[in-house]
Symmetry: C2
Subunit: 144 residues, 2 copies
DNA sequence: TTTTTGTTGCAAATCATTTGCAATTATAAT
DNA sequence: ATTATAATTGCAAATGATTTGCAACAAAAA
């Protein structure tokens, strides 16, 4: 769980420099349960660094995403992206209905959606199950 | 299945005027299996109406979405939306783990994702199962 | 320290999408 | 059919999110 790993170690592991700005942003993501827009993160960041710039927010978030520290959610309704600490806490698979091969799917498409559904249904969502199925590349070829 | 309903009847049902431009756009969506960007739709539309404007594309797509003729997908990677005919072919639910109440979820979050996963795994995806679960508004309140 | 390399702030650019408005077209009313 | 009405379109310009070039700066390596 990323949340409990020291920032310093996360940055080292990712091979990026530890800076005041990145530290602030990672802390914000760690503290936050809900996904945030870049703008919201910016506002929170300004409370801790009066001069931090919005482009630094975007650049840092993009690095975090490329290093799997964060994930980016594109909710249906919004015209802007939301960002969240990568929870890495559950896993989905896609299964071949011919040979039964399973492979992991590394990004969960539901995280942002849960949030969206919570707002629309007034449910408090605890979890979900998702299974994709189809034909793997080999079995797909065999069929023809 | 929307695909097999006459455009004229779709427009009437939705209470919007039948115009050449809307007709072209609905045909493009009907003919296409894959989701398309507004730009891609625009290019295809230009082949049929030399003077159709990009803002008409956007306006029309937004109307189609509000009338549930089309759906909008926000894939993780892309910074632009994709649009697709609303297939209306399967249904998901959210279930209350306390009282077992079920309510329908009208937009499937997986459609665009399947497409994305196909590209990344080389699977041919046939379908998926998704179930969300949590506490409904009443049960949520009771707990406190 | 000094050097090297990566990171930041700023301003300007870019790109997708939306909007105001006048001209045009579809439908309803005559 | 013809006219009146209300909705739709094309155009140009605006908007809003995100990215980028560049010079100044800060972190890590030497």
């Amino acid at each position: 769980m990323l949340k409990y790993i020291d920032n310093k170690d996360i940055f080292k592991e990712c091979g990026i420099k530890k800076t005041k700005q990145r530290n602030i942003l990672l802390n914000i993501l760690k503290e936050e349960e809900e996904p945030l827009t870049a703008e919201e993160i910016f506002i929170k960041a300004r409370e801790r660094d009066k001069y931090i710039n919005l482009s630094t927010i975007y650049r840092t978030l993009n690095i975090f995403i490329s290093k799997d520290i964060a994930i980016k959610l594109n909710l249906e309704k919004e015209n802007k992206s939301m960002f969240q600490l990568n929870m890495m806490d559950h896993q989905h698979h896609i299964r071949c209905i011919s040979c039964n091969k399973k492979i992991r799917i590394d990004k969960c498409p539901i995280i942002g959606y849960e949030y969206f559904i919570e707002e629309n249904t007034n449910f408090h969502i605890i979890g979900h199950k998702l299974e994709l199925y189809g034909y793997c590349s080999k079995c797909k070829d065999k069929k023809q």
